[in-house]
Amino acid sequence: MPDVSVTIDGTQINVPVGTNVVDAARLAGVAVPVFCYHPKMKPVGMCRMCLVEVYTPKVDPATRQVVMGEDGKPVLALMMNKLQTGCTTPISEGMVVNTASDRVKFAQKGVLEFLLTSHPLDCPVCDKGGECPLQNLTMQWGPDSSRFDYEDKIHFEKPIPLGDLILLDRERCILCSRCVRFEDELADDNVLGFGSRGRSWEIISKSTPAFDSKFSGNTTDICPVGALTSSDFRFKARVWELKSTPSVCNLCPVGCNTSLDMRYNELMRVMPRENDAVNEIWVCDKGRYGHRYAVQENRLTTPLIKRNGEFVSATWEQAYSLIAERLGSYSGAQVAGLAGPKLPNEDLFSFARLFRENLGSNNLDHRPGSPADLPLDDLPRTYGVGKGTNLMTLGKGTAVLVIGADPEEEAPLYQLRLRAIAQRGGDLTVVSGYPTKLERSATRKVRVKPGTEAQFALALVQAVAAEKLASEEVLGSGRLKFSDEYRRVLAAHKFDDLVAATGLAREVVITTAKAFASAEHGIIVYGRSAAADPAIPQALAAFAALTGKLGKANSGLIALRPGGNFRGALDMGVRPDAAGQPGLSAQQVWQQAGTGVKAVYIAALNPAAENPAAAQALQKLDFVVVQDLFLTETAQYADVVLPAAAVIEREGTFTNAERREQRFRQARQAPANLPADWQSFQAVAQLLAERAPVAVAARTLKKGAKVFTPEAPQGWTAMLTSDVNDMVTRSVSGYNAASYSALSTSRGAWGRQPNEAVYYDGTSYENTEGVGIQIAASAEDSRTTLQLNLSAPALRPVGELVLLPVARAYDGGDWVRGSKLSARQVPAHIIMSVADTARLDVGIGELVTVSSAAGSITLPVQIETGLDLGVALLPEVRGSTLGALLTGAQTAITVVKA
């Protein structure tokens, strides 16, 4: 965009066309105070705090030329002959802005004096005190005393709940409407509004349940006063007592940067930490309120060994010795390791190494082994979005295709970020078989027949040939190689048949393909429903490759899969197919339990919870180790249970869906000085390496707690987590540059300016601790050959109804322990169409029995008006026992009234 030259308080500066005066001043190093303006939202000019003098060159109406004065400079005229709000005034060439004249100062003082007339000034008991924009702006721009009588203040009942998480203090509220606008503009949750008028004007909650938004906590951050407080932090601590530790949320694959605000060893609150390329300045409520599990009383603190059917406490030496002795007694094929995709990279790397090197086993998986498991898919490693991708910078010229995903449920921040791309002029296509929230923000809402996303994706590939949309550059490079299967599948699936299967008009597919192919940047986001059928990611990768949307920044695939660090699990090799002869997947492990497989080591996974088959299989095994924070359903079947430090009690790294590796630090001392997961893996490996039970060196700390201190046999020599990371950088492809020091670099983060506090003040956390490093996609190396493959779409099962599992953010997982969100967890239920429920004569909340070839369960019904006849959705929440029902990506079911 072209720049225009403006002068702000004597500083001349060139800023892009369209910049408003407040932002332009910021670039010139001049602070203009604001309350209602927020750079992430449209300006509204309500609070009048940013009033400035704006002069524009006088233009002769006859000649349309700038009138020049005697000094040879343009004659200036005060715009509209009054002060202007800087936030709503776009700059123009030759503009002169004065932010510090007497007139401006009088107006600023006046606005602050007005705001304070109805403000209670209860700073000593206000949670915002110490990080409050109203306090700060009053100090810098306000009057030194008030002429208003205290008894003139308006009093309200305080606080009143806006919802179960957020409380409103109407006395403190200065009615800037940031919260309402955030929910409407960014979150697309029309849940807040206004009631009454004048001085009684107030924020109200419009939704049922009240303030029903997955992003509600952000409103407390952007509230420029203490009007909105969260029930999670209210009256817990004064903010200046808090010590901030940089962290990364692992509850979904977004990888939001957070700050863990601690008072001594207590977690007081979780706050978003800026990272433009990941979460900007936001975090969802799950990430904000879902990290209290670590501070629960019922954490495991000592190893447990089952003797005569009862768990008894054991020492670490006893536990490690027993594990090493028992695991070492089987052949590699007889042992299996399952480590959850929420573990950090260092732990996953150590776990994979323990199994491959010390136990000689490739039976590794990061999935729980349920029929609901998604097939392995590592296509984003090749075709994923390239290094330097930053969704925040995308708008016009970008096409985003979201398919088989419900971003708000699977990775909530993508709801905000993809919607924002569409708002900035990007082309957003949302393809889904059932209603999703992101559809509402789409440029093109494409509702396919449920379960035909694969046909749609293949039709896109066919459209590339039919409409000649292939990128000359990519085709000419000779990098693309097509498998025989690719040609066979294309030949067997005609465009018209594929389109007919989806129930769409062919133009819809063609316009989508054209919009994507012709865009400068193209991103494909696929999620739970798309990943269930391997044909879909393959077709999407082929489509992206053919249209040239690969191997560069801001183009390529983004997969959303369960587990905050699923990407790390794939990269670190916690998967059966990573090296040599493929081992058993988790599902195969349960099938062969007791026969082929004798012993299993499970870390940070709870397969028994949702899958009765896993629970049965666990009983058939000779030896089970479970390593977790709590005594889970799965741990009940263990022979040895090892506790571990929670994420907030150690350091490490996670890799997010866009393959950005990010570092988190230790915020809290673990109870009983529990070791990190990798330390236990290393201890077992060391013992195995010595091929004999060896007493592990242990030392006693002051308080008598024991901590494991690794010795140094056979290369298992890590003392610190960074030592493990060094090994990762040496041995994992793509991670060679991702050292801890590199991950801790913040250059390129949102460039802070002097007086930045004026805009983002209070509760936004500057990122000085590292924005992470994006691991390159292999297609970025122009020498890589790209082997394209396709498969036939999974056959749609024949049955009365087809069941599709869908992801839910509030899934009732272990993270919810101690969280204010526990009330928002929904019990297991099945979602059906209006027509199907009418046919069955069941109403909302009534029980139905759902049966498939695998089994049957009884659940209450919810009705979704946008859903097609013949389809039922089963949300993956705790207690849904999905595993008992599924037979594949799609499952034929019958439903009867219970």
């Binding site: 000019g45 009048r48 606005v111 007005f114 009615l175 008028r197 004048g198 001085r199 004007w201």
Partner: protein, 438 residues
């Protein structure tokens, strides 16, 4: 200048029962519209309105034809809104037009809609005008029945629908963008401008919004011609204005005058105000509704047109002329008026929300004899903190009474603060004037 022999908008004074559809038709009703849609292009209508020099009667006095010309070309749909939120204290001429001459308004809307090439028009009427809303609905039904509204009007292929929407009783909804918010079903608060309504108004589509009286002028301009119309009024303010005269005059009511008559004539002529109650001298004249700066008795010879009133330092506004005699205290009057603005402040911007509230707080204590020694400089500060700094004109309007009062009658404030007990009890400063529904 003699009284008008022929009214332009208050034609009920010339033609008995013109509110009846048959009577309206007998007197040439809808002929202007018929000739327009069958013989004239929209551009010709706009040209005539421009040439006639018709200026918006709602307050700002902006040339109507020029406003219509702001519509971006080729952007459809467009909307025409008729602003009948008549809420400015002292203004009651729209009510009379709707009650007694509703068909002329509907014809004006139809003509204007045709001129701006829109197919949907809304009449936003303040909620309290329930009977008037029913009258309008009936008049619209009459027009539909005769084929003046609806699909394929008079066989020309032109379609137009007109709807009446009742507001919920907020002064701010007379502000054009707040009116649109309210019409869209949202809370009635002004929008940021730009974009201006002509570019992005109702439902973000190009929108023209005109006052009732403005639109009621259009059939006469089109029907009788530009020359006929321009014989009334002045060069810069052609036509007539229906003034709402209230206060301490002997004959309060609506009087349609050609622009350019002296203010004195409106107050004292026997056919208009008929002089002051009890022959007391005039103390204060508020010439354009509560938002207009006050005038004193030495300004009675100004002419009642946009330029004349502006030259005297006030504004013609909605043409609500409030005349008050010496029995009124300037302090109380300012208090009463700002009490109104405080009550009607929407709360969106800080200076208006807090400023009106604080002005009335201080004015109340001064007027009840509890003023503080430094209240006069404080009042000056408070209104200056508001003046020019508010989001819309409501806040600016609230400055007007207190600024006028302090400028014209500072001694009354000093006396009120010094003596402590200026009056017994506050009185209603503005006598109510009832316009009978029938």
């Amino acid at each position: 200048m003699p009284p008008l022999t022929e009214h332009i908008v208050l034609r009920d004074l010339d033609i008995p029962n013109i509110r009846d559809f048959d009577v309206y038709l007998q007197h040439g009703g809808y002929e202007a519209f018929r000739s327009a849609v069958t013989e004239k292009t929209p551009a010709e209508i706009i040209g005539m309105v421009k040439d006639a020099g018709l200026r918006g009667r709602g307050g700002a006095g902006f040339p109507t034809g020029v406003k219509w010309g702001f519509l971006p070309k080729d952007v459809f749909p467009r909307y025409l809104l008729c602003n009948c939120d008549e809420s400015e204290p002292g203004t009651f001429n729209n009510h009379q037009i709707i009650d007694r001459n509703p068909h002329q308004l509907i014809e004006g809307i139809a003509l204007s809609a045709y001129a701006v090439e829109c197919h949907t028009a809304y009449i936003y009427i303040r909620g309290e005008f329930a009977a008037a809303a029913r009258t309008l609905d009936a008049a619209i039904q009459n027009a539909y029945a005769k084929g003046f509204l609806g699909k394929n009007i008079l066989g020309t292929g032109y379609d137009l629908d007109v709807f009446v929407h009742r507001g919920a009783g907020a002064y701010i909804c007379g502000e054009e963008t707040a009116l649109m918010e309210s019409l869209e079903g949202k809370i009635g608060q002004p929008r940021l401008k730009p974009p201006f309504p002509a570019v992005a108004g109702l439902y973000a589509k190009p929108t023209i919004i005109n006052n009732v009286e403005t639109l009621a002028n259009v059939p006469m301009i089109i029907g009788k011609g530009v020359q006929w119309y321009r014989q009334f009024g002045t060069e810069k303010s052609p036509g007539t204005k229906a003034f709402s005269l209230s206060g301490h005059v002997n004959n309060p009511g609506n009087y349609e005058l050609p622009f350019g008559l002296p203010l004195r004539e409106l107050i004292y002529a026997p056919e208009y105000g008929g002089g002051m109650r009890g022959d007391r001298p005039v103390k204060i004249v508020i010439p354009g509704g509560a938002s207009a700066p006050w005038l004193t008795a030495d300004k009675l010879d100004i002419t009642l047109d946009y330029e004349g009133v502006a030259a005297a330092g006030s504004m013609l506004g909605s043409g609500a002329v409030i005349v008050l005699d010496e029995t009124v205290s300037a302090v109380e009057l300012a208090y009463k008026m700002d009490e109104f603005f405080k009550h009607e402040s929407c709360g969106k911007c800080t200076p208006c929300r807090e400023g009106t509230w604080y002005l009335t707080k201080v004015l109340h204590r001064v007027s009840t004899g509890h003023g503080h020694a430094n209240d006069i400089p404080l009042l000056h500060d408070v209104y200056n903190q508001m003046a020019g700094n508010c989001f819309c004109l409501l806040g600016e309007s609230a400055v007007s009474p207190i600024r006028s009062a302090l400028k014209l009658f500072p001694e009354e404030f000093e006396a009120a603060i010094r003596n402590g007990t200026p009056r017994q009890a506050p009185r209603l400063a503005i006598p109510l004037v009832a316009v009978a529904a029938d």
